[in-house]
Symmetry: C2
Subunit: 152 residues, 2 copies
């Protein structure tokens, strides 16, 4: 999302495009992997040394609300986020290097309808993620540092 479009999106909710938010966005724009909050913070500080950890938490939450970013349910102790580019995107995550590939043809409409009918639920959403090894990591199984990303 171009900056001006984002500024507009923020503005529509009475929010501002600030220094910290810009730094976090730059970090996200520069990676294809999912990142934990502390790592986003570390990288944001390389762009703007004044960015505080609390602001990164606040910004990630804001971006999640704006659907620019989403949780990735990796089995770590800390929360990981990945950028969303496509609307209604799902994620395929590499267990080796953290690379995130997005896809949107989830084809779950039929399943959703069938489930709703069977269970009498009103279904409001779903989450779906795939895990595996990307091509690079399959060829280099011993190392976890592809693309300069270290697993936490």
């Amino acid at each position: 999302m171009p900056i001006n479009q984002l500024r507009q999106a923020l503005h529509d909710q009475g929010l501002k495009l600030t220094r910290s938010r810009l730094a976090v966005l730059q970090v996200l724009a520069a990676t294809s992997a999912h990142l934990k909050v502390a790592e986003v913070h570390r990288r944001a500080r390389q762009i703007d040394g004044r960015v505080g950890l609390a602001s990164v938490y606040r910004t990630m939450e804001l971006l999640a609300r704006l659907r620019l970013v989403k949780h990735v349910h990796v089995e770590h102790r800390h929360r990981h986020y990945a950028r969303i580019r496509e609307h209604h995107g799902h994620h395929l995550v590499c267990n080796g290097c953290g690379l995130v590939v997005e896809f949107s043809d989830c084809q779950l409409e039929r399943l959703t309808r069938a489930l709703a009918r069977r269970t009498k639920f009103r279904i409001e959403g779903h989450c779906m993620e795939f895990f595996g090894q990307c091509r690079e990591c399959r060829c280099r199984p011993a190392s976890n540092t592809a693309r300069g990303k270290r697993k936490s």
Copy 2:
């Protein structure tokens, strides 16, 4: 899973069926909702007052390894687990009362194959969950306490 079958499953890995594990299993057998660890602990103590929190954490992890239980990715601060009854079960979770309905016809084989081909990943697993409101909660939208389960 009947107790003897579980005892066997544990035994196969050199593990024991202990007091604490039994208490936790009884708690899980008695609910259809997902529970956070602290709640499992509270209930387990009602069955056996000696059960410690650390043991509940250890037991939940063990049960997850045995695929008798799985994480539910609710957006809470703490980890929630739900029982698995069917093999390869997926979960439909009520946002109101926490009720968990299992289903297994996820029909993702085709999508998995297509994704693997397109991305060159070796796909090793997926997680899929649906969220919504169960029939009871839709009819009683103000209350969150259906089935005696309080949201945390």
